[in-house]
């Protein structure tokens, strides 16, 4: 079966594929600056191991959210190392150690190009500098 207008379709396809893959080859071999989230100074361990927190903190946050808002279980939580934290709370828990959203949260979120909407309602701690 003959194909019509090959001389138009083929270059068109090539241009399309080139444009679509532009970000990949433009950035190839360059992973960008690796994010360096600021570590808290007042605690050594988080409520879960670092590996888990790095990949799944959002799952944990959702679980805490449902526990607090829906089940009224705000209670104290213990970390892997036995350190006790007061409250399942972003503002009154997490951010008491991770004092800067800019230097902690945004560091990776910007790198990964995700935009969580936490701070549309919850209030970021005041940035100190």
């Amino acid at each position: 079966m003959p194909m019509y207008d090959m001389n138009k379709i083929l270059p068109g396809l090539i241009i399309f594929a080139g444009l679509m893959t532009f970000p990949i080859w433009y950035n190839s071999g360059n992973a960008g600056a690796v994010p360096k989230p600021e570590k808290p100074t007042n605690a050594k361990e988080c409520v879960r191991p670092t590996d888990y927190m790095r990949t799944s903190h959002m799952v944990l946050l959702n679980e805490y959210r449902d526990a607090v808002v829906r089940d009224g279980e705000r209670g104290a939580i213990k970390d892997a190392g036995g350190v006790e934290y007061d409250e399942k709370s972003l503002m009154l828990g997490c951010m008491k150690c991770h004092v800067s959203a800019k230097k902690f949260c945004d560091e990776c979120h910007t790198y990964a190009a995700v935009k969580p909407y936490c701070w549309e309602c919850h209030i970021q701690p005041k940035e100190t500098n």
């Binding site: 799952v59 679980e63 959210r65 449902d66 526990a67 808002v69 829906r70 089940d71 009224g72 705000r74 503002m91 009154l92 909407y117 549309e120 309602c121 919850h122 209030i123 701690p125 005041k126």
Partner: protein, 276 residues
Amino acid sequence: MDSNRRKFLKLAGLGAIAGVAAPSAFNSLLKGEAIASSGGHAESAGHGGHAAAAPTGKQYGLVIDVKQFADTPGLGEHCIRACHSLHNVPDFGNKKDEIKWIWIEKYENAFPEHSNYKRNADLHKMPIVTLCNHCSKPPCVRACPTKATFKNKDGIVMMDFHRCIGCRFCMAACPYGARSFNWRDPRGKNEIGKPFISRINPDFPTRTRGVVEKCNFCSERLAKGLQPACVEAAGGAMIFGDLNDPGSEINKVLSEKFTIQRKPSLGTNPSLFYIL
């Protein structure tokens, strides 16, 4: 709630769509309440009230002594300030966008079903403090399509701002006008640069535009063993407690004083009682 249970509930819900769980869905329709609902007063509600269900779990409630509010000018406003500043309730300065958790209503507006014919002159001037009734059979909870509003284990009608889609069905359903909608960004500023929330309380979140909000009976304070902010500010003019606990102070007051509720004939079993 752990994620397994949540997954199970999701699946169960999908099952309901498929008709597998139709009988249970039908059952909950018949009962006319969310599955999570736990309330139920000991009292029967007014002339239209049904025989009350046996009390299960807590049902926090409030007795409001209107006379004390009438005798102490500014007390109601004081309570409103305490609540609204604590919960970052914005003030847009107009009626269209208005958000309020607790407010003052005239007698005939708060109790439109009570006769206003030949009423007592004092009654007319009485400031009726109104807020969410935390009904034990709340129509708003029945209406919500996502369980974003629900009865929690303390009998409080809660809002889950993360889940609310902003359909405002609950606002149509609430017979007490207790619900407000974020018509615009509550963190915004007016034309002359004045922020709608004059001083943000860093310990409580604000809301975002597009969700419904209302009084939460200070569930965040109750968790710390404190009384709701309005009750604390009212200094004795409001009595807070568990209606399902026979020994509670609120039940003692309710058994001694004559109280009325707003629109008891609707069968919602409001948890707010007024001494006039």
